[in-house]
């Protein structure tokens, strides 16, 4: 019940929706890992940092790559160093303990106070990776056969896991998580988020930019929709470039900041072209009738 006392309320530089805050608090109260999914650029990684900051806890970040093995997060037995030492005979290599190094997850377990553990982009790893961590995440304990030691977390860390949905995660793993999908912010939430990053923005510039931005996002068949972080960069570019708000919608300056794929630029041009075309067509078909 003591866990229940600490509640996350969001932090100064991170806007959190009610739904997400709910999910975080549920995960913390039940002591389960929180699995966060969402479009790129919706602030999945930032969330863990924000939680750590708001609750005043240390954070351990374990970045997952395609070659990462589950074991690496727990500990590494540095056999090469041991071999190296043994050849110079100035170390006592009999004590294996000095060659066991804790991974990020291991460090989080060994910490004496509660910490935040971020397992970033878990879907990058091999398909079996999440399954290899089931026991460790459930029991928050692992065994080191080389030293016959068991490491047990003194306080359950707050575990945040992010995924970009590149791979389907195994069911057994999902069952142990609290799941939250960060929906793309609607214009109101977006305005709040932007306020955090650009507090003194011209109102008219913001309005025009947002309108253009959501127009772009709503074009069907976009391969990579522009995301929050791209909008923030774009606004920066607009401010630095001294673009007049009236020109944004018409000229769409610095479009390369928002659209990163050639195909998407083509789709946009097609769309704009078609609009003018259909206008002409509808008029001519009216006359043909």
């Amino acid at each position: 019940m003591t866990q229940n006392m600490t509640q996350y309320q969001g932090s100064s530089d991170y806007i959190v929706s009610d739904e997400l805050r709910n999910s975080i608090n549920i995960a913390m109260a039940l002591g389960k890992p929180l699995l966060i999914k969402g479009e790129p650029g919706t602030g999945k990684t930032m969330l863990a940092l924000s939680i750590a900051e708001a609750l005043g806890k240390n954070i351990y970040i374990w970045n997952i790559k395609s070659t990462t093995k589950a074991q690496e997060g727990l500990y590494i037995y540095d056999t090469v160093q041991r071999l190296y030492d043994s050849q110079f005979k100035d170390h006592d290599v009999a004590n294996i303990k000095q060659y066991i190094r804790a991974g990020k997850m291991g460090e989080a377990f060994q910490s004496s106070e509660q910490v935040v553990l971020l397992i970033d982009e878990i879907d990058k790893a091999d398909l079996e990776f999440p399954n290899d961590l089931l026991w460790e995440l459930d029991q928050m304990t692992y065994y080191i056969p080389e030293t016959k030691e068991t490491v047990k977390a003194q306080t359950r860390p707050i575990v945040i896991i992010t995924s970009n949905a590149e791979k389907e995660l195994p069911d057994a793993f999902l069952r142990r998580c609290i799941f939250h999908y960060i929906a793309f912010p609607d214009p109101e939430e977006m305005a709040q988020i932007i306020k955090v990053h650009h507090p003194n923005l011209d109102k008219r510039l913001l309005e025009q930019a947002m309108e253009t931005f959501y127009m772009l996002r709503n074009i069907p068949n976009m391969q990579k929709k522009p995301s929050t972080s791209e909008l923030i960069d774009w606004l920066q570019a607009l401010v630095v470039g001294g673009i007049s708000p009236n020109k944004i919608k018409q000229d769409m300056p610095f479009l390369g900041v928002l659209l990163k794929k050639n195909e998407d630029l083509d789709t946009l041009l097609n769309q704009l072209h078609n609009k003018t075309q259909t206008k002409v067509q509808s008029r001519s078909s009216y006359w043909n009738r």
Partner: protein, 409 residues
Amino acid sequence: MFTEFFYYLRNFGVPVSMNEWQSLMDALEMDMAGSSLTGFYYLCRALLVKTEAHYDRFDLAFASYMGDLESPEGLPDKIWDWLNKELPPQEITDAMRQNHNQLDIEEMKRMLEERLAEQNEEHHGGNRWVGTGGTSPFGHSGYHPGGIRIGGNTRNLSAVKVAGMRRFQEFRTDETLGVRQFQLALRKLRQFTTRLDGARQELDLDATVDQTCQNAGRLELVWARPRVNSMKVLLFMDAGGSMLSYSRLCNQLFTAVNKSNHFKDLKNFYFHNCIYDRLYHDPSCRGSDYTDTEHVLRTCDSDYRIIIVGDASMGPSELMRVGGIIDWDLHNEQPAIDWLKRIRQHFEYSVWLNPLPAKYWEWVEGAFTIRTIGQVFPMEELTVEGLERAIAKLKSRSAVGEGTKVAKR
């Protein structure tokens, strides 16, 4: 405690297990729902739903469960309290209460009809006529605990309404999506040779270093068997006129299949409406640029995975008759259906992907041929979810043979 909801979820296709249900009970015990129905909704969703693809199903299940509740026994009192709290705080007088004697839907419909007959002008406010505001059971933006909303917007988003909005519809995996999603689905189509047989040809560097270190420096080489994907794929695509409207979708699949470089072998062929004795090398399906279907059957062994893409809609004669082929200058000795059965018999792992949405299969012009071909090949619609199901079928042998047996009789 409202166990029925559990079954609602499962019926709507949200795979909930007992573990998760137990967690929900624990969470409710700890009062995590924040004593509101909205809180309860988010709590359930966070604990019971594990992918955004199921958010929509969850919303449907939740709305239908809350909507279907007839007797208060279905829910604990606490939740009924929340339900009541969700309504906008308005002054309720005795007179208003009298108006609210729980009316049942039939009676309300009847009353609505009567009132529509009597009423001939706009009303806003008040407690009887159809209009906005006020406390009449009919109209919108007003207050009546069990009224009928006519047009307008909901004033207060209760959880049931949030669920009813179905904001997450676009994440359904049965929607058609892009190349990347297809590629991801295709990635599942792999079968590695095991590490148990074959020659040990690859130096396992990590294990060698490990083993050498364990031996305190005495070199010990460790060899491993390489693992390669043994999946071989044949892709047959319909290039007929009726496929034009699905060209974008088919292109996406085609690109995805060809980008997936993890297959041991991949061959593409095209056909026009249905497969006869020739399989063409390019989509125009003309001239001498073809391979005999017979030849493909002879040279490709039966562990090739066959993916046929086509709308399977054609004239019955094209499928069933000798000489039914649609091209004027060609003639077929064997009806197309025989070719299809032969292909199915030879290639045990095969599926038919149909770009037509499955809900139209019964109703479109080609319903007969869709049904007939569906008896030969397992047919799935060409969406990400359909492709995933198809791939699951391509991996296992179990479903094979059923179709042909039925068709043979």
